[in-house]
Amino acid sequence: MRSQTVNAPGRGVSHLLRRGEPLVWLNAAAVSFSILAVLGLLVLLAWQGLGYFWPHALSLYQLKESGEIVLAEQVAVQQVPREQLLAAGYEIPGSGPQLERLLLKRGNRDVTGTDFVWVLRNELMAPTAPPGAVRVEREEWGNLYGFLEAVLEDDVVVASAKDSAAATWERFQTQLERARRVRSDIRDLERGELRATSQALEQLRRRGRGAAAEAIELEGAYERALRRLTALYSESARHRYQIRLADGQQLVLPLGQVVRAIQPNQMDVVDKLNYYRVRLWEFLSAEPREANTEGGVYPAIFGTVLMVVLMSIIVTPFGVLAAVFLHEVAEQGRLTRVFRAAVNNLAGVPSIVYGIFGLGFFVYGMGGEIDRLFYKDALPSPTYGTPGIMWASLTLALLTLPVVIVATEEGLARIPRAVREGSLALGATRAETLWRVVLPMASPAMMTGVILAVARAAGEVAPLMLVGVVKLAPTLPVDGVFPYLHLEQKFMHLGFHIYDVGFQSPNIEAARPLVYATALLLVVIIALLNFAAVTLRNRLRERYASLEAG
């Protein structure tokens, strides 16, 4: 009370500082800024990425001058200064300092070469939205935009738009459903039986038993599967559809290539939401197509999660053992201080350095040695002596090791001396005390270390490019073929996928929304992984609550 009256006349900066209010404001500002930055990032990613799956309307655009007609969906609108266009050599009708430029997705890459085109609004007549416009998503060549004319079976027209547009559309959809089933049969056969038998055969041959009875039996099975596959392919080839493009060109294309088709101008909100759901699910569950610019990212999700899990499994025991040694076993002195400093400095080494180390030590060193010892018959083609998911996990485990060590050591240091002494006083040895009391009590701290490690590892891309990540992995590292988990395989990763789609893609406009969507997905997955680890830690904390209280 007295000090207040003494200070009362001295209002102003020093008074404010003494009361600490500016500090509170600064703290609040810093916190709000951080929250806004994170929210801004998420909103940007969501806005740019999630719009991609919505079925946009198709419109017919006609150029005023040439009369050329394009059936396209509008992707973006830009304001361009007139000077810029003039400088670029355009002759522009109309007036005004700013002109509107549209980015149209016209698809039909197999016919036109590019599926995106920029047009000035001035050069266009007013667009119309034809109800019968069809958007066909294909396995190859991107989307097809046009008008469905007929459905063919063995070159015979079975439904024609001239008779009934609705009936043709219906027929098209039922045939499409059938074609999709055939396609999935083909895939199952190729991925499952054919692969398994050919791998088993390969193994037999490598062991020099190519002529054994079981090999002959396998070959028979392989032949039969192959015949089934051929039958499926010819069944798929029987069905085709005829489509008319906006410029009047007519194409007859195989139905087996169609992923799905819609008439966006006839869809109501429910249809559109339904379609949105299907597309989003495809993004999460399907494999990528068309140099990763179409389809889903499931293999990348799988690869990311599997790699992080493997990394955690490797790094936790190593980190905990190292921390226990440093804190419990080793005599505290100059040497442990040096070790600790070294560990802390490891955390500051750029990740690409770990990548190079991983490539040199793990892949070529250890992997090469494993190949020489166990996979001699497969040489010179390497089995483990090439980048793969195991080496990637090991490299990231090394990268995150310091985090786990430091966190665990802090946890060990927080355990009250009284508890250790209590155990020792009951006749437990130091090892028994460590195992039965100290380590369980330090487990929340270990989990904290793992959480930090997961957060760091899941977002890391640079070292992975050297030790196992690829643009497109033909198969997942986990499948039904013994030994089920293929640690030597290369894998896909969301972080690298973002880089690849965003910066290595031949079709930049098509890839752009996928970059945002994938980035959002990566953030969500890291958040989920962290959430799982945090939940686990909180469970442990509840059990060993004394640490937080005392």
């Binding site: 009284a418 002494e421 006083a425 009951l426 039965r436 609550a545 004394s546 640490l547």
Partner: protein
């Protein structure tokens, strides 16, 4: 030392007449202890009688806890701790090289100042020492856990909460649980290091009653700051100051008719 040539120190140190040779559980001979060069105990000689309560009193830093901790070699854990002299448990030197420290600590249990239950269930806390010894038979464990909790006067309060986390108990219950944990391994000696200093008066009373109960089966050594407590629970009392044993006598005599001026000053509150 004195003009009359009488060795006063030898007089102070003389073993107490009430303790006969065959009744000695722990015998301390010329014990000196230092931490990193700083002396904590100097030339202690003392006999702890079997199945009695012996209290160590004295001002803070007088070495009473150090002395207690040298009975089960807890000082081994402290870096830079040096010890001279002998501590005999049932006539055997516990600092002899062939002694297994874990075995020793099973025979000499210890309860600390602050309750330190493990973050496990009540049951597992009591069973801990037994499990360490490799006992895993459920029925035997159940039996010993119940008996130990009954001995620690805790059974009736928490018999329905055996599977709950021990950290959820009150401070007094936790301390009695720690005592139950200690006696579950059936030690010969129980060392109590200010067992009631962090407890409320009622819990303190319960602990004191418990000590009274336990002394029929265990040799008990208690360190306490509280002279009333020492007077209430102990049969023998040792007053220590500045690392030396000043006076050791039966509790009655020490509190009513101390031989040393220092002791009198301390117990009457004029000192310390």
């Amino acid at each position: 030392m004195s003009t009359y040539g009488i060795d006063l120190e030898a007089l102070q140190r003389r073993p107490i007449d009430s303790v006969e040779a065959e009744d000695v559980a722990i015998s301390v001979e010329d014990l000196s202890l230092s931490y990193g060069g700083t002396a904590a105990l100097r030339d202690i000689n003392l006999n702890v009688p079997r199945r009695r309560v012996t209290a160590f009193i004295g001002p803070s830093g007088c070495g009473k806890t150090s002395l207690l901790r040298s009975f089960n070699r807890m000082n081994d854990l402290v870096n830079g701790c040096r010890l001279n002299g002998r501590v005999l448990l049932e006539g055997r030197d516990i600092y002899a090289p062939e002694v297994d420290v874990s075995q020793l600590r099973r025979r000499v249990g210890m309860v600390f100042q602050k309750p330190n239950p493990f973050p496990m269930s009540v049951y597992e806390n009591v069973a801990y020492g037994l499990r360490i010894q490799g006992m895993n038979k459920r029925r035997k464990l159940d039996e010993i856990v119940e008996r130990s909790l009954r001995s620690a006067a805790l059974w009736d309060e928490i018999k329905d909460r055996l599977q709950e986390n021990a950290l959820g108990l009150s401070g007094g219950q936790q301390q009695r649980l720690v005592i139950a944990r200690t006696i579950a391994v059936e030690p010969e000696v129980v060392l109590l290091d200010e067992p009631a200093s962090s407890l409320d008066p009622i819990s303190t009373l319960k602990i004191e009653e418990l000590i009274y109960e336990l002394k029929s089966s265990y040799t008990i050594v208690i360190v306490t700051h509280n002279m009333q407590q020492a007077a209430r629970v102990s049969d023998m009392t040792a007053f220590m100051n500045l690392g030396r044993l000043v006076e050791y006598d039966s509790t009655d005599r020490l509190f009513t008719n101390p031989r040393q001026q220092q002791t009198e000053d301390y117990i009457t509150g004029r000192y310390g």
